[in-house]
Symmetry: C2
Subunit: 423 residues, 2 copies
């Protein structure tokens, strides 16, 4: 348990939930949701998540092959062969690429074989060209003895029929597609991409393609958050900029919740808009609000809710705060909705860097400090970028961020920090 809870303090303000606790509350609820599956062809399967374990239906390779240019032999015929005491073998045939070898290899004989050529029946190994000396067109000297299996990839050496090729919940990388291609699998069961609904709210917000107007500010959040959601493998429905009049706002959120798998709205950070968002989440289904506000800077005023089976996030209106909240809460939620086994996820990309100036932090909050990375020989250094959470340019100038945790009051110049890269 943590010292925080959801009750209000004596000024009527809600206490904040610790970031790690808020994430646990959210992800625990999402663990019960089961994404639906669909089948896609390999050419469209990159970055999709497997919905079932995939087994090899055949051996790979299906038959033993040479890994060298040389001669297929029976290893026993070469035992003890040296430069001064070579073994003599008759050239009894030649293996052609992509064709079945003609005839069977008998003791005392060898077949010419190229890299990738199929081993002839009875052959068990391949002598490299470099370890042979031609005697005439029908005979070679083998000047080095080899063991059975040398320079051969055997049937099923890569993967055996019946063996699991890939587990369920695995995000498909280029090499995973290659393995499936090798096994002759062109169709794969994957989870449907999560569908994300994005709503911007606030009477001051205008579309970024509109000309500037007094008192208006262009919609940055829908652009950045849609790009982040796509990066996480989601499809995005943009519900546009919606009035913060109660019924209009509510009906749009209700539509998004009905049509997509995860919804977030971002809007003014004013108390009025925040209350509006809370009321919408509570009206839309149980359990409703899970978390009001977290110990995160920037990102404190996030609201996290669950309306029946759809997570709904009220993100702060400031662009930097909204992005930070996406990183900490929305992305992990999307990973769960994608069906990704978290144990299977690669570590978040990061580098160790030395802090170029001291930085203070209030205890009790997790600080996200944007930085610029500077390389000095083999060492990375990082320079904190100071600026308000409303200033998107600070995010654009940043290469990544590091964290100062709730228990720390700051870090000194020269200390080593782990910088997570904005990709």
């Amino acid at each position: 348990m943590t010292p925080f809870d959801q009750s209000r303090d004596m000024l009527g303000r809600r206490a904040l939930t610790r970031v790690s606790e808020a994430r646990t509350i959210l992800l625990k609820r999402l663990g019960n949701l089961h994404p639906t599956a669909e089948r896609v062809v390999l050419a469209e399967a990159l970055d999709r998540v497997t919905a079932e374990p995939i087994s090899a239906a055949e051996d790979l390779p299906p038959a033993p092959r040479s890994t060298m240019d040389g001669f297929a032999v029976i290893a026993a015929d070469t035992f003890g062969a040296t430069q001064s005491l070579p073994a003599y073998l008759n050239i009894a045939g030649e293996v052609l690429m992509g064709a079945a070898p003609e005839g069977r290899l008998e003791r005392g004989n060898c077949f010419r074989i190229p890299t990738g050529g199929l081993l002839p029946d009875n052959g068990d190994s391949v002598v490299m060209l470099e370890h042979t000396v031609p005697v005439d067109e029908t005979m070679i000297e083998v000047v080095k003895g080899i063991g059975s299996g040398t320079n051969v990839i055997k049937t099923g050496d890569d993967i055996r029929a019946g063996e699991q090729a890939l587990p369920a919940g695995h995000r498909l990388r280029p090499q995973d597609l290659g393995l499936l291609a090798g096994l002759g699998i062109d169709e794969v069961g994957v989870y449907r991409r999560p569908r994300v609904g994005i709503i911007a709210t606030g009477d001051e917000i205008i579309d970024h393609r509109q000309p500037s107007a007094v008192g208006k500010i262009r919609n940055i959040n829908s652009v950045t958050l849609a790009a982040l959601a796509k990066r996480s493998g989601a499809t995005v429905t943009d519900y546009g900029i919606v009035s913060d009049r109660e019924e209009i706002f509510f009906s749009t959120v209700a539509r998004a919740v009905a049509e997509t798998d995860l919804v977030f709205f971002s809007g003014g950070s004013s108390v009025g808009v925040r209350d509006l968002g809370e009321r919408a989440i509570e009206r839309l289904g149980s359990p409703g609000i899970l978390v009001h506000g977290v110990t995160l800077k920037p990102g404190k005023p996030i609201i996290i809710g669950l309306c029946n089976s759809t997570p709904v996030f009220g993100l702060p209106g400031h662009p930097v705060s909204a992005m930070v909240c996406f990183d900490f809460f929305v992305r992990p939620a999307l990973s769960v909705l994608s069906g990704e086994r978290t144990a299977d996820c690669p570590p978040a990309p990061s580098v160790s860097a030395r802090l170029m100036r001291s930085i203070n932090s209030a205890a009790g909050r997790l600080d996200v400090i944007r930085v610029r990375l500077v390389r000095d020989h083999d060492q990375w250094h990082c320079r904190p970028i100071l600026g308000r959470s409303g200033a998107i340019s600070t995010m654009s100038r940043a290469d990544g961020y590091f964290l100062i945790d709730e228990d720390s009051q700051g870090l000194a110049e020269g200390e080593s920090v782990e910088v997570y890269i904005y990709q």
Copy 2:
């Protein structure tokens, strides 16, 4: 200079080029190529590379705004205010979201203002709601003095008109799109995506969708390499599986060189196919072959060429070797062809991990050791995956790789290595 050169040894074999030198030779040649530019809208600009520096045409924000719910004031009116000696201000108006404030703020007055509201003329700061006490509907007490600019984001605080928003050669991330949206920019000049042509060769290779057949092996490389090229931002033309008969092979490579910006073929590692590839590159234009074979394992037999302005790579037939060659040579070449400023690239994602078993390496070659990552509390450990470079399953089981450089003969269990993540 290095101790290696391109001449042949006394057995007629070419000496290998060191990996770093081979990369330098390649990238230096590509530095003279200039990708063409095109214009795209913001919704399609994620991950594209800017072809020109982009400047702000207007201030962001265009006018001063409040960052808090409270009262817009003239700071001087609050100087010295405390709980026991508050300043009294008349409520002379209210700023509505998205609208121009009505009237001008006079000394002794204040305007109600929400977060994001536009500061009224003559106002210079905002007192937080929490630092005021209502007297009646027309007057407040301010219980804390504030300085000019408090709780206000000023005109151009995010970025000023005329300032550079983004440099040329910058790969657009979600926050960069957000900055452009904030500035009202919907169309951006980017470099055209590099076009990659992929050819598989070898009479033993069949399409992965075909049923298995004796002596045949399914085309893994075109699938993995196409996925890697797409990950690097390229568009891919797959020229299919081409016979290794000289004229057919040559005419396909010639067509690919004419139609795309970077070509690679992968095929049998047999001497015959290798020679075929070398002859094709030499015939297609100068300077022709730049590098024959590198000190890389797996990946040694790579051929790197440049036919007029098109880089052409002969990649090894073994799937793991081909992928490693992509990582070391093709990806950096694609980055240059994308117009990306390398100083601007994020570091390759990696983690430090402790080696779970000792591993040997021959001096004079750069070893790429695939590993499985294992987390133990706060520490990553890595277990080398042993297996032939023909076995794609070893790549699929790998989370990443570390390097043992040319000068090292191996590493001991427990040593720390930098593991680059396969994403």
